[in-house]
Amino acid sequence: MALPDDLLQLARHLANLDEPNPRQAALRRAVSTAYYALFHLLVSEATLNWGRIELRPLLGRVFEHGNMKTASERIVSVFKAQMKKGPAPSQELAVSQRLHVVASTFIQAQQRRNEADYDTSEDWTREEVLEQIDGVSAAFSNWNAIRDEPVAQAYLVSLLGRRRV
């Protein structure tokens, strides 16, 4: 199984440890691991486009969390603007909707990962963590449905960083 799928499976395993009284450490690691599952899914999909296989891991190290958030925000903004126009159902709209799910989930998961790793002011509950993992799992499914679409491939490129005019 590939790393992103392994991480997602590990996140669920961590969330289900110590029933019925989960430890905060396990729940927090589950939240963090779920984010990294999505992070590595997107990075691995992007680097797949690089012809030299041996250099893909090195290219993967170029991706930065902040740039990926900014790129995801752009997708969300474009989708919202599109929806405001009340578009008729179409294949293009369906693809945009799926991409919006991926980008939105990425933004939310990234912030939660930060809170899970650094903010100890609030506890996490198992149910909340499992729902978070369900969300990332749904993002995986949506991504797999659109991964070859031009707009999805353009998103992968945009994750690398700021676009210059």
Partner: protein, 105 residues
């Protein structure tokens, strides 16, 4: 630096959230929030949404046509109208009753 409208007009923002909270009942029990910055320093609103125990498990997920997050985003437009990026956390009523965290009450 421009102060986001949500910070400058906190009363109006609170009223907008309260209105949505009312509109979304009984699908939500309550909506609480904090204004602040996310991990990158961008202005943000952190929603803490308490759901009834019998709420569908996927009700909050992005992509759910009438999901709670989507409904809040569409009705308040936190980023477009108020200048803050929205973040969402969800908890069931019984979980909150057990944890009794003031920030969610």
């Amino acid at each position: 630096m421009v102060v986001p409208k949500a910070f400058a007009q906190q009363g109006q923002f609170a009223a907008a959230v309260a209105e949505v909270e009312q509109q979304l009942q009984p699908r939500v029990v309550r909506i609480r929030y904090t204004l602040g910055e996310d991990w990158t320093g961008d202005p943000a609103v952190f929603f803490r949404i308490t759901l009834p125990d019998d709420a569908p498990r996927t009700d909050h997920l992005f992509g759910t046509a009438d999901g709670i997050s989507t409904a809040i985003e569409q009705r308040i437009e936190p980023l477009e109208q108020w200048g803050v990026l929205p973040y969402f956390r969800f908890r069931r009523q019984s979980e909150q009753a057990r944890l009794n965290e003031p920030a969610w009450a």
